[in-house]
């Protein structure tokens, strides 16, 4: 069980949330002008890192707001959650990023 800190409601159980994949993926400004390969990359290609991952969550059973989380995919530790529009926390300054525990 994870406790996830909703930026609005505070720490809540994981089961109140839904996960919605990698965050900060910009939609091409002019979809008609990008190549199939670029459009395909936008739609399907994800970083899938082993380590810190910025991702979208929604507090489905709570305030129903979307937010971002910085999660370490190695140990599921969530290092930060932040609201849309807020500057993403600097992963280099994050204690998790400096953790040499496992290889990335």
């Amino acid at each position: 069980m994870l406790l996830i800190t909703c930026p609005w409601c505070g720490a809540r159980d994981q089961s109140e949330f839904s996960y919605h994949g990698e965050a900060h993926i910009a939609r091409p400004e002019r979809p008609a002008q990008v190549s199939d390969a670029q459009w395909g990359a936008y739609l399907f290609m994800r970083k899938n890192p082993k380590g810190l991952h910025r991702e979208r969550w929604v507090h489905s059973h709570g305030c129903r707001r979307w937010f971002y989380a910085l999660r370490d995919t190695r140990d599921d530790r969530i290092h930060a959650t932040y609201r849309p529009g807020d500057p993403p926390p600097d992963s280099a300054a994050d204690p998790g990023a400096a953790n040499p525990g496992s290889a990335t």
């Binding site: 609005w8 409601c9 809540r12 109140e16 059973h61 709570g62 707001r65």
Partner: protein
Amino acid sequence: MADSGRDQPVPDPAPTSPAGHRAPVDGDTCLRELPWCGKINLRGDPGDSRFVSAAADALGAALPLEVNTAAPGGRATVFHLGPDEWLAHCELDGAAALLQQLRRRLAPLHHAATEVTDYYTVLELHGTDAAAALARGCPLDLHERVFKAGQCAQSRFGNAGILLYKPGPSPLFQVQVRWSFAEYLWDYLAGVLDSL
């Protein structure tokens, strides 16, 4: 063309939920469905002081700006649902008038006021085991040290989304649930109470 029968005002049937045919559970901990109340969902910008004061004037209760809190007032009890969303419970008969008043007061401001009276019903769980029963299906920490009188929270019970409210220090909880989940929640809670 006009059908004369149609001109007769038809009284609204008394609202009931799918849990309405269940007999209240009595014992150390009681479960009952509260009489239907009016419900109005309100959205707006809490950073706009004009919105906050106009909404408070219309609702007769301060708009709770702190998360997970509720504000009981003369005309309505107002629950904080999200950073820009509130829910007001009022008298069933007064919902239409309250909605009108809200819309009139908030007309010049960015807002949305929606009547959701028929969308939800409210169950009441009261007694020594109320928190223990809720803990069987709800992940919130309901210890009185954490979930205090006057607090509310949206969460889930089993698979049903709920709005939980603790009006006072006694072990009494109001559980608002979507109308269509009322029977599910009722049966789940009644089963838990039976097994405690």
